[in-house]
Structure formats: C-alpha cells, structure tokens
C-alpha cells in the first residue's frame, strides 16, 4: 500500500459517499427503466462510471481486494441471463424472446407490475457493466 497523500484523503472520503449514491441511483434507473427514463444501458453505464471512480481514487489493488469480481464473468452471466429469458419462453412454446407481464399484489410494495423484460434488462445491465470495466481495467493494468 502506498502512503496516503493528504490531497487524496478528501477525494477518497468523497468517493466513498459518492459511489454509494451513484450505485443506488443506477440500480433505481435500471428498474425504473420500463416506465421512466432509464434501463439496462443507462443503469449499467452509471454503475460502471461509479466503479471507475472507485478505481481512480483508490489504487486498483486495494479495490480488487474489497471488490473481488471478475468482470469478464459478469459479461458472461449477463449474456446468459438475456439469452436465458429468450429460451425460457421458447420452452413454453412461444417464439424466442417473447416477453410477458402481469400485475401482482406483493405484501410490502402493494400492487406491482412484474415482467420478463426485467431479467432481460438485468442481463443487458450486467453486460454493460462488465464490458466497460473490463475495458477500463485492461488499459489501467497494462504497464
């Protein structure tokens, strides 16, 4: 660990707070996407920029320790999820990628709309996050 310089303390403290806000907002954007501006792409890009901020203010090594995620795997999971929702409808005899939606009553949230587009959009989200961070880390780690 390299010694913390005084001008980095401010940045790092701020980042801790900022990243939390950015990440929670990005999740909100992801789920709000069906009815409000937002969605997998926007949420994913926002998460990616939040994580990039983390990497920029702390050094890559320590972030990797506290965030032990292989982002290439994230891309794979995202793709599988997106293809999976498509195939799931195929198994029910509908064309590939047919989406369904319905309104349910959930105990805490009240009436809510659930749609198969949500897992698909989460897949998109994961691919975007994974791809952006993979690109970022590849460049940053190169010497």
């Amino acid at each position: 660990m390299k010694p913390i310089k005084s001008n980095e303390v401010m940045l790092q403290t701020l980042t801790r707070i900022l990243v939390f806000i950015v990440l929670s907002f990005s999740i909100y954007l992801l789920f709000a996407g069906h009815n409000q501006p937002g969605g997998g792409f926007i949420g994913g890009l926002m998460t990616a920029s939040g994580i990039a901020l983390l990497y920029l203010s702390f050094d890559i090594k320590s972030v990797k320790q506290s965030l032990p995620i292989n982002f290439i795997t994230v891309i794979g999971i995202g793709l599988l999820l997106a293809v999976g929702t498509g195939i799931a409808t195929m198994l029910l005899g509908y064309p590939f990628l047919t989406q369904f939606f319905d309104y349910f009553y959930l105990p805490v949230f009240g009436e809510a709309e659930l749609t198969t587009a949500i897992p698909f959009d989460i897949g998109v989200y994961l691919v975007v996050v994974g791809a952006a961070i993979t690109i970022f880390l590849s460049i940053a780690e190169d010497d």
Partner: protein, 802 residues
C-alpha cells in the same frame, strides 16, 4: 428426416467422428472404422432394387427453404440407384484398398478419410436429390473434396498445382451450371427435376432454352472432363491412387454424365442437345485415346483413357437423345441402343477402370515407379496383379468374353445406327460417328496393349527399382480381384444386370418410352457390322503395335504433355500477374488511401442515386422553430467540431472532444429524448476516463506534416462527404414529413402499454419489441470488451513482428 435422408447425410456425420477415432484409437487403422459406412450404405441401397426394378420409385420430402422452392427432396429411381450403388460399392472397395495403401504410421489418415467421407456424402446428395439447387450445393462440395484429396500430399508442388487446376475448372463449370439452373427456374418456376421434366414442352419453347442448356452443359462437361476442359484430370493423378480410382474414374467424373442423363428428358429431342453432346463426346473420345497412347506414366495413361471413355459415354447419351425426337412411346432398338450402351458401359467402366487404377497403384506402391520405360517383366513377380490388369485391359480394349466387349459392341452398333437416322442432317454427317468411333477404338486397343506389354512382359530389370519388388499383400489385392471378377461375371452373364439395373436406369432417362426388354447377347450373327468393326479394331491395333518401333521415335510419341495445357498455363499466369499488378497499385498500405477510396465511392454512389432518382428535396413547411438557446448550442457545437483538426495538444483535444459529447447530450435533451441524453452523458464520462488513461502513454500530437496537395485532396473529399450527408439529412426529413406517409413509430406508441406493459416506449422497444437486436448488441459489446482484453493481455511469442 427419413432414413433415406439420414443415409445420405451419414458420411458427413461420420466424418465428424473420424478425427477422434484417429486421435484416440491409434492401434487400429482408421480405415477399418470408415469401411463400415459405405458397406452398410451399399447394403441399404440394395434394398431399393426390388422397388426400382419393378418400375417404381421412392420419394422422400424434407423442407429446407420452402419459400424459395428449395427442398431437400430425395428421389430414388433406376438412374439414381445405379449411381448410389456405384458410389457405395466402389467406395467400399476403395476404402478397403486404401487401408493397405496408406500406412497408418506416416500418413495423415484423419484428413484423408474426412475428405473421402465428405465426397461420398456429397456424391450421394447429387444423385439422390430431386432439387437442382441442392444438387448444385453438393456438386460444389464434391469439387472441394476432390481438390482437397488431390492436394493430400500438399508438400508436393505438383499436388497443389493439380488441385488448383481442378478447383478452378470444376468450380467455374459449377457456377455456370448454377446460372443454367437459375434460367430453368426463370422459365418454369420450379427447382424440382421431376417438375422440370413435366414442363419439358414449355421449357423447349422458351427463348432461354438454349442459354440454359449451354450453361448446364458447361457444368457437366467440366466435371466429366470433356474436351477442352479435360486437362485437369491428368493433373489430378497427383492424388493418392485410391482417390484416383474412386473420384477420378468411377464416381465424381461421372457426375456430369449423371446430370446429362438426368436432364435428357428436359432438353432431349432438340438438335442442339444432340449435336453438342455427341460432338463434344466424340472429340473427347478421340482426343483422350490418342493422348493416352503417348503417355509413359501408368496413371497418366489411365487418366487419358478415362477421359476417352467418358467421351464415349457422353457420345452415347447424345446419340440416345435422338429417341426423344423420334418417339412413338414404344421401344425401338434403333434409337435406344445408344442409351442402353451408355448405362451398361457406365457400370463396366467403373469395374474395369477401378481394378486397373488399383493395380497401377499396386505397381507404384511395390516398385516405387509408374514409368513404363523403367517397368517390365512384372508378370513373373506379381502374377495376381498382372492377371487382374490383363482382365481389365482386355475388357477396356473390347475383347471377348469380358464386359467391355459387350458394351463396346453396343457402342459401335449405336454409332452405325446413326447413319440410318433421317433428321438433324444425319443422312450426310452421321457417317462420321462410326468412323471416329472406329479410329478411337483402334487407339484404345493400342494403348491397352502398350500398357500391358511394357509393364508386365519383357525382361525384369531389378536395377531399375529402389526397393525389393514382390507381390502386394493380400489385403491390397482383395479389391482389384473383386472388381476383376465382376468384369468376367458381367462379361459372361450380362443379363443379370439387364432387368435389375439397366432397364430401370433407361426408363429414368427415357420416361416417355415403355416396354424396355433388354437382352444383351454375345453373338449377333455374321451380318452384324459391330462384329466386323471389332475384328478390324483388333487387326489394326495389333498392326500399329507391331510398327511401334517405327513411330515411337517421332515427336508425337516423345512429347506427352497435352498441348492445351499451354493455354491454361498462359491464362493462369496472366491472371496471377494481372491481379498482382492491380493489387500493387491499389494496396498502398496507407490507411489514408483506403479511407479515401471508401469516402470517394460513397460520395459517388450516393450522389449518383440522388441525381438518378431525383431524390433531393428540402421541406421548409414542417420544420420546427429554432430558439435562441438552440442557436447558441449549434454555434458552440460547430465551433468545437471545426476546432478539432487544428488542435496540436492532446489534452486540449480530449477536452474539446468531450465538450462535443456533452453538448450532444444537451441536444438530445432539446430533442425530447431523455434516455438518449442520459446515455450520451454517461458514455461520454466513461469515454473520457478511457482517453485519459490511454493518453498518458501516447505520444504528443504533432502538426500534420503532409504535403499541401495531399491536404487539399483530403479537404475536397471531406467536404464532399459532408455535403452529401447534409443533402441526405434534408431529403430524408422532407420525405419523412410527407403527409401521405405513415410512420411505423405509431405502432409502438399505440402498443407499448397494451402489449408490453411499459410506459417508456424507448425502453419497451429495446427490451421487448426489438429484443433480439438488443441481445445481439450486447453480444457485440461483449466481443469488443474481450477484444480489448486480449489486445492488452495476450502476448504471442515474437509478437513484435506481427
């Protein structure tokens, strides 16, 4: 998928297993596993014999591209069954032979058998398919498999040259055949052969009849090595001998024959079809036999003799098509003898030529040479090989009692029959057919004697060979001995074939004629002209052989290369040099030039379309209002954009670039596209981070040092591109706001709530209506990320040179 479909495709499926069998079961020669496939298929196809010999046919349908009329329909009748049996039967023997021919220790057996199975499957596809497009696909697969097999010993330059030659010629023919098939579709609206036959009258009246016929024949002639396209076949002899025996004498070269026979009901009866095929066949027959006499290499001799025999069968099919012109529905042996001879000789040729190739391969394998000037006296050392060769050669020469004698007599009879035809000007020119047939038969007889005498008789000279010469192992002899026995059996009892194989095949070639009753006999009486011709052939052939000392020193005999090769070589060299010149001029290695080509082409293409279709329009009536704020945005954006090329500081450049990006997101806000604005904003953020990371390690931007003339050209090209795109933007807006034009966007506006339950239409389009697009898009993104990852992380050895 029916059993028939699976059977046809089984060689392809089995080919997938071969590499694994080769890799994991090293102890057993891979050929033993492969042997199962043709053997089982042969037995399977034998089960169709009762159906076809009673005049029936089997038809199995499988839709492939039904919207285009392209279906994988399989159709088994007498003709296709004959070929299927040849392919699988000879295939079995050839695989068996190859097990001993190619040693498992040194040869790449996996490649060999994969190609061979690929070929076998494709060949079955050609002869069994009812759809001409499917035939075309399989046709090209056989060309590819053939070239791969010719270049099997790819480290030899001659193998590669031979492969390229056969590929160029046969694929060229295949392409023109595809053109012919397309014309047939244009005329008749169907790709099905049986429907084409049903519509033969309509096709004959079309003005496209002749072009379609010529193009299809070009395909058949190149494949079946007809003059002047035959030059690829001798060079194909660089392939291992099992391949020569299988592809280049028994099956693939007969694909053209099959096609001609199959399409005879469509085209037959026209004078053009009759003359083109008969003349091409006769010339090939003559040219092949005279060239074969000159050869000193056993396989080259057999190759030219194959060409000659293919010409013979082709001639017979041409002559046989006269039956369509003179057709009263009943069999008339005056006209049908030719087709009978064609079918019968097809079978006979496969048997005797297969055995001859195999024995030539044995000689090559055991002595290390195929040169008849070195060989000699092998009869005492290889008695079985010599006997089989003698049987095969005698059959090819047309001597009784072998099967070649019977079909050769039928052939001569058929050419004599032509003289008595009273149409197509045959009263005057028809006499040329028996004359050429006779001369070619004499030459055939001559090269058969030469081959046997030079290789097997005379004095054995051990000093000519590197190896110790002995008879081949038993396993290698099985296949040629079986084929040789068939030569004798078919020769003694020809009528075991007549009702089971020949009659159904003839019925398939001449569907409008009934009452075939084939009886092949050895003796036609003293008055038969064919008998006297045969006797003449023997007398003249022997005479020429006696005089060989006189003519063997002439340049005719000393030069053996086909003069037509010169034409091909010149053409090929010219093609290579020409493309090299063009490439050298065009491929400068400068990115600027390539981009300039594209930009200039885009401007020309789009500009031409604009003028040609009078597409330019400006709509000032429907434009929306420009607020002062927008003016400001546009000015700032334009100024920043124009500034970019002038910036020579990389940090400033990145800042200006990102200012442009952020301004763009403000535009999106104004365009009432919140999703776009958000996306653009975030993308720009991430992009800046990337640019910053990379730029620390990149060199400083320098002022462009290009010459002024270059810069001027660049500027003109750029302004051209910009201008054309402004015009496109204006015109497409003008046409889009036309009142009579319904936007497809209405559908999404109306249905996103009802069909997808979402209020954000953009997101609904992305995840629901156009979900597949989005899925492929994230795939692209994933690939880009992996590309970046590998670019950075992957270090190949010696990558600095890459």
């Amino acid at each position: 998928m029916t059993i028939l479909h699976w059977a046809t495709l089984s060689p392809f499926l089995f080919a997938l297993l071969i590499p694994m069998l080769y890799k994991y079961i090293k102890r057993i020669h891979t050929g033993w596993f492969v042997l199962i496939v043709p053997l089982v298929l042969f037995i399977y196809f034998l089960s169709f014999l009762p159906v076809t010999s009673s005049g029936g046919s089997v038809n199995q349908t499988l839709n492939w591209v039904p919207s285009l009329g392209i279906n994988f329909n399989l159709y088994v009748d007498g003709l296709s069954l004959l070929f299927a049996l040849l392919i699988t039967g000879i295939g079995t023997l050839v695989v068996l032979y190859s097990i001993y021919y190619l040693s498992k220790g040194t040869e790449k057996l996996n490649n060999f058998y994969v190609y061979l199975m690929m070929f076998m499957g494709a060949m079955l596809g050609i002869v069994l398919s009812d759809n001409i497009i499917v035939i075309y696909v399989f046709w090209e697969v056989t060309s590819i498999a053939s070239s791969l097999l010719i270049s099997y010993w790819f480290y030899r330059k001659k193998s590669i040259d031979g492969a390229v030659k056969s590929m160029l010629i046969t694929v060229f023919g295949g392409l023109s055949m595809l053109g012919g098939f397309s014309l047939l579709y244009v005329i008749s609206g169907t790709f099905s052969i049986r429907e084409l036959i049903a519509n033969a009258d309509m096709i004959a009246e079309s003005s496209l009849f002749l072009p379609a016929m010529l193009l299809v024949l070009l395909g058949a002639f190149t494949k079946s090595a007809q003059f002047p396209f035959h030059i690829w076949l001798p060079d194909a002899m660089e392939a291992p001998t099992p391949v020569s025996a299988y592809l280049h004498s028994a099956t693939m070269v007969k694909a053209g024959i099959y096609l001609v026979a199959r399409l005879t009901p469509v085209f037959g009866g026209s004078a053009e079809w009759f003359w083109i095929i008969s003349i091409a066949g006769t010339v090939t027959l003559f040219w092949g036999s005279i060239s074969a006499v000159r050869q000193k290499d056993l396989k080259s001799l057999l190759a030219f003799s194959t060409i000659s025999q293919l010409g013979l069968i082709m001639t017979l099919l041409g002559l046989g098509s006269a039956a369509f012109y003179y057709s009263d529905g009943m069999e008339d042996s005056l006209y049908t003898t030719a087709v009978l001879a064609a079918v019968f000789h097809l079978v006979n040729h496969a048997t005797f030529k297969g055995s001859l190739f195999m024995t030539a391969g044995i000689v090559d394998h055991e002595t290390g040479t195929r040169d008849i000037r070195k060989l000699g006296g092998l009869m005492t050392i290889m008695p079985i090989t010599a006997t089989v060769s003698l049987v095969g050669l005698a059959s090819m020469a047309g001597l009784p009692p072998f099967n070649g004698f019977l079909s050769k007599e039928l052939f001569l009879q058929a050419t004599v029959n032509v003289v008595s035809f009273d149409f197509f000007n045959l009263e005057t020119w028809g006499v040329l057919f028996p004359v050429f047939a006779f001369v070619a038969s004499v030459l055939t007889f001559l090269y058969c004697i030469i081959m046997f005498a030079k290789a097997f008789t005379g004095k054995f000279k051990p000093e000519n060979y590197d190896a110790h010469v002995h008879e081949a192992p038993w396993g290698m002899l099985i296949s040629p001995v079986i084929l040789g026995s068939l030569v004798i059996i078919f020769g003694l009892f020809p009528n075991i074939l007549s009702s089971s194989i020949i009659e159904p095949a003839m019925a398939a070639i001449m569907p409008h004629t009934q009452g075939f009753d084939v009886k092949i006999s050895h003796w036609h009486g003293w008055s038969s002209p064919a008998l006297w011709m045969t006797i003449g052939v023997i007398v003249f052939g022997l005479g020429l052989y006696m005089l060989m000392n006189k003519w063997s020193q002439t340049s005719f005999y000393l030069k053996e290369r086909d003069p037509l090769n010169q034409v091909y070589d010149n053409w090929y060299d010219g093609l290579v040099k020409g493309s090299q010149t063009v490439t050298r001029i065009q491929m400068t290695g400068l990115l600027r030039d390539y981009i300039a080509y594209m930009a200039i082409f885009i401007v020309m293409l789009l500009g031409y379309s604009m003028i040609r279709y009078d597409a330019f329009a400006i709509d000032t009536a429907h434009v929306s209002e420009v607020t002062p704020y927008m003016w400001l945005l546009v000015l700032a954006f334009t100024a920043a954009t124009i500034a970019v090329p002038f910036i020579n500081n990389r940090l400033t450049a990145v800042i200006v670039i990102s200012v442009i990006g952020f301004l763009l997101s403000l535009f999106f806000v104004q365009f009432r596209a919140p999703d776009l604005a958000l996306t653009q904003l975030l993308v720009e953020t991430v992009t800046i981070i990337l640019f910053m990371l990379v730029f620390q390690r990149l060199p400083k931007l320098k002022k462009e040092k290009s010459r002024p003339r270059f810069k001027l050209v660049n500027l003109i090209v750029s302004i051209g591109v910009g201008g054309i795109f402004t015009m496109i933007a204006l015109s497409s807006f003008a046409f889009g706001s036309d009142v009579n034009y319904d936007s497809i966007a209405e559908y999404f506006i109306e249905n996103s709530k009802e069909l997808a339950g979402g209020y954000n239409m953009v997101n609904v389009i992305l995840v629901d209506f156009r979900g597949l697009d989005t899925m492929l898009e994230i795939l692209v993104l994933a690939i880009a990320a992996l590309g970046v990852y590998t670019l950075i992380k992957l270090r190949l050895k010696g990558s600095e040179d890459v």
